[in-house]
């Protein structure tokens, strides 16, 4: 069984991700005026259309290509010895320390602890009538699911098919779909966790929500 407290401690001990920026292909590298400690921006804009901070340029066959930061963070080391030199593909150029945000921490914890059940095809999903009744009365966490249980109704263009749950037993921790809205194939429908871990997860999530300090 996964030790959630230990996982949280682990994340707390190193509350960041170290992103290694490598050369996308061979070429001559120039770093510009970037220094250690510089804060960089990641990709932004509603459609991720604005590139991040320019980290370096790499030139191959008279074709200068920019390397942009993918995530926001702080530059912790730069391979300055490579400035103006030819490097092979995948050569590490610099390291960016990206501090985890509250949502990212939660995502990591839930990814490791929950078993996600995904939509097999694009359709509208509903809970089976008896499950639905129970959820409405006392919340989703009161429902225990087991492998092969008839849990959903998949509805698409007036065709309704019942859909069974497959995966480890447990309670429904989170519901990711909305009533009357289409869910794309491969998107999670529910997250299931073992019964005994439920209070632990709830506690950890509450603690992350209140205690996690977001750093730039």
């Amino acid at each position: 069984m996964l030790d959630v407290t230990k996982l949280l401690e682990e994340i707390k001990a190193s509350p960041y991700e170290e992103i290694q920026v490598v050369a996308p292909h061979c070429g001559v590298v120039t770093f510009g005026d970037l220094a250690v400690g510089t804060r960089v921006r990641g990709v932004s804009g509603m459609w991720k259309e604005k590139p991040g901070t320019l980290l370096a340029t790499i030139e191959r066959e008279h074709n200068k290509k920019p390397i942009h930061a993918g995530e926001k963070g702080e530059v912790t080391s730069i391979e300055t010895s490579l400035e103006g030199r030819f490097v092979e593909a995948r050569t590490p150029l610099m390291v960016i320390r990206h501090f985890l945000s509250r949502d990212e921490v939660l995502r990591i914890i839930l990814q490791r602890t929950l078993n996600l059940f995904n939509a097999p095809e694009r359709a509208k999903y509903y809970f089976a009538p008896d499950v639905d009744k129970k959820i409405k009365a006392s919340g989703s966490r009161s429902v225990t699911v087991h492998d092969g249980m008839e849990l959903f109704i998949m509805s698409r263009m007036k065709r309704e098919v019942s859909l069974g749950y497959s995966g480890p037993d447990g309670v429904i921790y989170a519901v990711y779909f909305q009533h009357n809205e289409n869910v794309d194939a491969g998107q999670p429908l529910i997250g299931v966790c073992p019964q005994e871990q439920l209070p632990l997860i709830e506690e950890v999530v509450a603690r992350v929500q209140t205690e996690w300090e977001e750093r730039e």
């Binding site: 804009g45 509603m46 459609w47 259309e49 191959r60 066959e61 008279h62 074709n63 290509k65």
Partner: protein
């Protein structure tokens, strides 16, 4: 009116003066403010006591307004038309027409509240009779600053609504009065698309079979043109009619980046140079008549002004109708006489506002001729007199020749051809019967079977991909960029994983197309000249027509000379005759390298001449848009008038039975797309091209909306129904050939 109301009125007048001068003439404004404050302090409320003092104060206001009127600059006039106290269309409906019903939505319950439509009537008394004359009133409504009116900035569906009711008026045979109160169209590409809808409006208005009278107050570029193509164009003396707002012009002139603001001085200078006022437009001939407004512009309480406006629109409608009606000499004379005198009472002269079918034809022809005559002097034509005369004779010869060949000879020739075809088909059957025994013997001989088998195979199996079409990468023209020894990254590399391409390969053999994702890099216009048309078949005409600087816009002469030197062209439009697989076509090409492919008077004139030539010679007409940034703003209204002009030329060509094809490449935006390009029934785009009304920066600034990066992609235009297909650059020749064979046009010579 009691004193309080009168004082309140003066307070509003003072605020108006303050607003429209934007910080100028402070001493006059302060004087009025002080006097008004003194009066307010003294005012004890007894009406009898302060009556004379208030009258004096009102006189002072009138005096100062008259004094300041003489000092109005073009930018002040821009502020006047944008002011919330400026008269709006509802005021006009209430005060100019005798009765009206708003149709097509009301207030905020309308598909687009900024476009107001009303059925109205004007009552006239002639002798003892009373006549109710119905009109369709269409115009932008600014609504004294009501937020949902969007400042008169009409969305595409608002323009579509206007067009719908123009058609209704045409069905009912009643005149249309349009009132232009718009700073410009709302630049969104949602269906039907700003550009596409304006183009449709222009195309339809070019042939509308009822009189159209337009009154301009705020004529902002494309938005104004959407309802402004009229038989008579009147303008309010304090209005403006311009290709771009002075702020927009200043942003372009000052090369301001996103978010930067132009200085007031630069905006003022631009307003001055763009020649946007009523007097300027009257001088250039783009406006027929100016209607005088009270000092500092008309406001809703100027009832005398509404009376003048009523008389002017009635007169304009009467004049248009009498101009095309068969016989009405006395009334026409009366109208002419009344033009000279200040006394206007047209209510007593009755002109029936309906037309016979032939009069409607004359009306449309007259409107089209009127627009085609405009702006001819705004470009340079350096041909010597003899050459001009020769070209005129040549044109006339083509008129006679094409009438003889296509109208007279072709009709009878076709009848003979049909008979001959029938006889020939009969003969074929006979020949088959007679020769059958002989063929059986020859096919049986050794060595003769191959041909028979080949023919049989060709006819019975599916055809194969014709490799010769793409020339195996051996193009007639190779871009100079192919000489660079460097690699090029495809812009889609991050998402599609395209490998770097070596420039000699990319711009040579691959014709500027990424081998991995199919992205089309822009190519020079010469590439198309040499690779789309038959070798050596291109024959340019009107090359001497030269772009000029008709407004003497400061610094523009130098920029034009630079463009001419850089490209070796005299204008942004190259017109030529060429052949595609031996089918002759007339082509007008907008070249992106010449001032961004912007369209001014020279480009418009060349385009019109090319359409005329195609009409005369019965050739298909292809508009190849290598790129266009819009109307050339430095030419002001001389540029914007090309929108209706060229659309009219295109309509005349299509109605004469021609096939008008448009092919967009690289970036095509604004005016040209919203008129003579967008009105084509057959529009195509080269892959990776962008088509739209306004660029992302302008959309952000005017609407406040962020737009997705693929907003202007050709595929969006295709799914919206703006264009009919997207072509690979290497297949253009084959696709044009296919289009020539399968699309439109009843009078094409090769059919």
């Amino acid at each position: 009116m009691d004193n309080e109301k009168r004082v309140q009125h003066l307070v509003e007048r003072l605020g108006y003066i303050r607003d429209i001068f934007g910080g100028k003439h402070n001493e006059n404004i302060e004087l009025l403010a002080t006097r008004l404050a003194e009066f307010s302090q003294r005012d004890t409320g007894a009406q009898g006591e302060n009556g004379p003092a208030l009258a004096t104060l009102e006189d002072l206001f009138t005096f100062v307004e008259r004094k300041l009127e003489a000092e109005l600059t073009p930018m002040d006039k821009v502020r006047i038309v944008r002011h919330a106290q400026r008269i709006c269309l509802r005021d006009i409906l209430e005060n100019v027409y005798d009765n009206f019903t708003e149709i097509g939505g009301k207030d905020e319950y309308s598909i687009d509240p900024s476009m107001l439509i009303a059925r109205a009537y004007i009552t006239r008394r002639s002798g003892k009779k009373t006549y109710h004359q119905p009109v369709m009133v269409i115009g932008q409504e600014k609504g004294h600053g009501e937020e949902f009116r969007n400042g008169g900035s009409v969305k595409p569906w608002g323009n579509a609504k206007a067009l719908h009711y123009m058609k209704v008026a045409e069905t009912e045979g009643i005149p249309i009065h349009t009132y232009v109160f718009t700073p410009g169209s709302f630049p969104v590409e949602d269906y039907p698309g700003a550009a596409q809808q304006i183009a449709r409006n222009l195309y339809e208005m070019a042939g509308l079979r009822v009189p159209v009278i337009a009154v301009f107050s705020e004529g902002g570029s494309g938005g104004a043109e959407a309802i402004g193509l009229a038989d008579r164009r009147l303008m309010l003396s304090h209005g403006y009619y311009s290709v771009i707002s002075p702020e927009g012009g200043a942003a372009i002139e000052g090369r301001l980046r996103h978010g930067q603001r132009a200085t007031p001085e630069l905006i003022e200078k631009c307003a001055q140079q763009l020649r946007i006022t009523a007097a300027d437009n009257l001088r250039s001939g783009y406006i027929d008549h100016v209607i005088d407004e009270p000092p500092l512009g008309a406001r809703p309480y100027h009832f005398d002004f509404f009376r003048t406006l009523r008389q002017e629109v009635i007169r304009a409608t009467d004049e248009v109708l009498l101009g095309v009606k068969g016989f009405a000499p006395l009334r026409a004379m009366a109208l002419r006489r009344r033009r000279k005198t200040a006394d206007l009472d047209l209510d007593s002269v009755y002109v029936r506002w309906s037309l016979s079918s032939s009069a409607k034809d004359r009306l449309v022809a007259r409107r089209q001729r009127k627009f085609l005559r405009l702006a001819r002097a705004a470009c340079k034509d350096r041909r010597p007199v003899m050459r001009k005369a020769a070209s005129m004779w040549w044109d006339m010869w083509w008129d006679v020749y094409s009438t003889f060949k296509y109208d007279l000879f072709r009709k009878h020739q076709q009848k003979i051809a049909y008979v001959l075809e029938e006889v020939d088909a009969e003969m074929q059957v006979l020949k088959e019967k007679v020769l059958k025994p002989w063929r059986r013997i020859t096919c049986a001989l050794p060595g003769s079977g191959g041909a028979c088998e080949d023919t049989a195979r060709d006819l019975t199996t599916l055809s194969e991909w014709d490799e010769t079409e793409q020339r195996n990468g051996n193009w007639s023209y190779v871009s100079p960029r192919a000489k660079q020894d460097r690699a090029i990254t495809c812009p889609n590399a991050a998402t599609h994983g395209c490998l770097d391409l070596w420039a000699p390969d990319l711009f040579g053999e691959f014709a500027g197309v990424c081998t991995s994702c199919g992205h089309h890099f822009p190519m020079e216009y010469q590439w198309y000249l040499h690779n789309v048309f038959d070798e050596g078949s291109v024959f340019e005409f009107n090359a001497e027509v030269e772009a000029a600087n008709p407004l003497s816009f400061e610094g523009f002469d130098v920029k034009l000379d630079q463009a001419k030197q850089k490209t070796g062209l005299k204008s942004g439009c190259v017109t030529f005759e060429a052949r595609i697989d031996n089918t002759k076509v007339v082509v007008a090409m907008l070249v992106a390298d010449f001032r961004g492919g912007s369209v001014g008077a020279a480009e418009g004139e060349k385009f019109i001449q090319a359409a005329e030539r195609a009409k005369k010679k019965r050739y298909p007409f292809l508009a190849y848009v290598h790129g266009t940034a819009g109307i050339r703003i430095q030419e002001g209204t001389n540029g914007v008038i090309q929108m209706p002009r060229c659309t009219i030329a295109v309509r005349r060509y299509i109605e004469a039975g021609g096939l008008y094809l448009v092919l967009y490449d690289t970036n095509s935006y604004a005016g040209p797309v919203a008129s003579f390009l967008g009105c084509s029934p057959y529009q195509f785009a080269v892959r990776s091209s962008n088509i739209g009304f306004a660029g992302p920066g302008v959309i952000k600034e005017t609407t406040g909306m962020d737009i997705p990066p693929d907003y202007h992609r050709a595929y969006r235009a295709l799914s919206r129904g703006h264009i009919q297909g997207i072509w690979d650059r290497r297949d253009i020749r084959a696709n044009v050939k296919q289009a020539l064979l399968t699309m439109g046009g009843r009078n094409l010579y090769y059919r």
